[in-house]
Point group: C2
Chain length 161, copies 2
Amino acid sequence: MSTTSHRPEATIEADAEVPLIRITRDFDATPAQLMRAHTDPELFARWVGPDGMETKILDWDATTGGRWRYVATRDGEEYGFHGCFHEVGEDRIVQTFTFDAQPDGVALETIWFVELGDGRTRLHAKSLVDSFEGRDQWLASGMDTGVDQGYAKLDALVGDL
Amino acid sequence: MSTTSHRPEATIEADAEVPLIRITRDFDATPAQLMRAHTDPELFARWVGPDGMETKILDWDATTGGRWRYVATRDGEEYGFHGCFHEVGEDRIVQTFTFDAQPDGVALETIWFVELGDGRTRLHAKSLVDSFEGRDQWLASGMDTGVDQGYAKLDALVGDL
């Protein structure tokens, strides 16, 4: 395993032209392992979200046209999320995303995996919403902590798949 | 029926800030009638698309988290489309949309109905993509003909529901 070229933290960038967030994060894993960790509900529940959050999957059909719904719990507070899977391809997922407490807000998310060689893969994610205000509120909400802590859990988990 | 206040043609506008298209069109119908014409597959197939296009529904589950797929045929040419229903509410539909010939292009569409009184309703639709180039290509593609001809068929059909 190379230690010099590893980028442990996710890069989170606001697009300059459109209300889009771009995330990249490198993993010591194959695209197939990362796809499995994103599409298998038991695996997904083990890594998604910040530390201390318990995720319970309520509905899950990770196929093109399928649906998903889960509830995350921390300190007795429940946070629900739901969406549909527009596409579940070999190394690409396109899905919608809504936080139940903000039911009018819908993001269109695309996640894809690009092999870097030496058993490493770069995860790319982009999330599109319909206003810069909504996008920037989300960026300011502390979502980077959830992303970094979630991907650290994914990093620890994906090597064993 | 009022003839003075009726707006027979759809208004199609490109948003100035984000890569979004906004459509409005008034109908002599209730929100419930328009919802039915958008969610019942047999009704939907009768009005969607430009004149001369035959629509065959291949998959249809117009519920929150459901999926849809149809093929439109004209002059022996087939055009496939598919997506998922993020939300099917009482007077609002949020869905994804892909033209199969451009599989990487995904639009996030929201359609909602606002009562105007006197049995009339304004349909609002917005369609979000992730680049201005993609949005403007779509606007230049002649989509306004399909929208206007489709809504004229819907106009003729919806009064009988």
